[in-house]
Amino acid sequence: MKRIHIKKPDVKGFFTKVKNLKPEDIKRHYQEKKARRQRILEERRNSKFAKKMQPVYKWMNRFSLVLHYLLACVLNFLIEVISRHSFFEAWSYMTGTPLVFLFNAFLIFATFMIVYLFRRRVFVRILLCVFWLFLGACNGYLLLKRVTPFNAQDLKVLSDALELTSNYFNGFEIVMLTIGIVAVVLWVISMWRRGGQYTGKMHRIIAVIAVVASGFAYVGLTDVAIDKRVISNYFGNIAFAYEDYGFPYCFAASLFNTGINQPAGYSEETMAEINKDGCLNVSETSRSKEELPNIMFVQLESYFDPTEVEWLRFSEDPIPNLRKLYADYSSGYFKVPSVGAGTANTEFEVLTGMNMRFFGPGEYPYKTYVKTTPLESAASALSSLGYGAEALHNNGGNFYSRAKVYNNMGFDHYTSKEFMNILKTTPKGWATDDILVPNIMESLDTTDGTDFVCTISVQGHGDYPTEPTLENPEINVTGVEDEGKRNAWEYYVNEVHEMDKFVGQLIDAIEQRGEPTVLVFYGDHLPTLGLEAKDLKGKYLYNTNYVIWDNIGLEKKDGNIAAYQIMAEVFDRLDIHTGTIFNYHQQRRQTKNYLADLELLQYDIMYGKQYVYKDSGAPITEGHMVMGGKGCDDHQCCGAAERNL
């Protein structure tokens, strides 16, 4: 072993050296460095060990396809370990459904065909491994924070996500993350120089053919696997789908399978049959203009009645206002398309009446369609009856691209966080919902006559801190053994209590205003608190609660409603018949082929030839929305610019 000598730093010598430095010296220094490096690499290549390994490498190159498949299996297993946060769960997934496991490994294997295009094979293999493990790590991390796994939409909402980085990561995590990424990048670069290179003859054309062929093989194999029910191409719950069908397949599906595929039997004749005599194009009501009430929908973020959880105990009822509403007005379970996340999809179903199940697995139509293309909605449908259409949201206007989405849906105004004078936030930094009350009232003033108002709240947004956060919580929660979980539940329940207060304030304000109004409250999905179906009284993870309040004496009619049906249902109770999809629900609900024809209708409107609009014309061709609700002329009047020295 060498002794460590600590040399006294030669400060003076260093300075004389620097002083006499010539450009040639620097050049020579770098040349020497380069030569030295080459020599080391050469030595390494010719070392005893490398010589000994050469036949092995040769053998490995010969059987590279088999070895790639083995590597793919190892990678697949690691990805699942990271995704499931558990070695044993990954193991039972692999041994329990070996076909699914091998199918996913095949996808990874297919990407390894690229290796044969390059001489630096080791480097390319490393790059592919890093790529797959990085995707796995993203999934693993996101699943710590929410229940929706990593999918292609996350790549598209990256701009939103970056803005929310501070909500998802703390400072320490960001630093560690940066160090980790930099280290991996440096290592990969060093392997570019040091990694073994293939010395045999290259067959690039064959390699290209192999890449294409393996791509087709994957597509073909997917069809066979779906046919044999090894995997499914419909994700009832994206989180469970990832667990059952594996990360690589599900991620790829979310990347390549979006929109609605043309259903069997789609033709002009079929659509004419569904839209007989233009029955879906009507826009009518028996009510006179004075009798038409304001229609308001309030989507409460992550809201459901917490007393639905079997084992939770509360010091007092967290939702006294809503409880009273449930008793006095039409209410029931609200079937939503998402659990623990996916706000925008519940919103999409409510506003358009369309069913999420026909779209690609894990898709957000807001992102994949409505952001760029006009689409009829409750806003456009009610506008044709003379309603003003207002949208409000106390979070950033670009979140889920709502500023563009609402414009394309035919709203008149959209008041986002940027237009609200927000003074209060939750301990986690979300705006509180009470700010919505004055803003909703103002939005009613923006247009003459009756209004359709869609409000999206944010106060209950996750995550819910496991450390004690509230100083004097109004509601104490018991019944949870784990203290961290109890803290999270207590935080959540108190936010729900705040939402309930907001509900009370809003109804007071509307009663004071005295206009005829129908007001619907519903939760968009269950909170991200690890609930399972058996924990709930309803034994179903896709149920939240709704209530339809009114001051026009509607009959109380309880029942369970799906998110895509509620708008049509509310319209029906008011004898309003407008909007292609809403008319469809009103006329065809509980008839034969209801869902199959709904799929045809959705396909026709969004991706097909729009045969249903043939005679009536499209209800919306472009947006006309103005941001902010307040009067157009006097917004932000600058009175004076004053200089204070």
Binding site: N398, V626, G628, H635, E642, R643, L645
Partner: protein, 102 residues
């Protein structure tokens, strides 16, 4: 006058944290005091400068702009140019690119 360092205050209505002042089309570091007052600490305003307030969202989106005012002798005078008035409040989706030039 433009050599002196000081703070300008813009008075108006309905300001929020996301209100940003633009001078001749350039976004300024704007401090939100309350919903009727914005402060500019680092900006210089000369006579003839065009001043406007915009509500900005993420990724440099301008959701909505106020009318444009001209700074003359310590006063803001509304610019009644038809071209800017017609589009007022309808520029929700104008992506702002000038910022990157800096």
């Amino acid at each position: 006058m433009e050599q002196l360092k000081g703070t300008y205050s813009i008075y108006g209505e309905n300001f929020t944290k996301q209100s940003k002042v633009y001078i001749n089309g350039e976004k300024q570091t704007t401090k939100f005091l309350n919903n009727t007052r914005l402060d500019l600490k680092e900006s210089e305003i000369k006579d003839g400068d065009q001043i406007m307030v915009a509500q900005c969202g993420s990724s440099n989106t301008i959701f909505r702009t106020s009318k444009t005012y001209e700074y003359t002798g310590g006063q803001l005078v509304e610019v009644t140019d038809q071209d800017t008035d017609v589009e007022n409040g309808r520029q929700a989706f104008v992506e702002q690119k000038e910022e990157k030039k800096k």
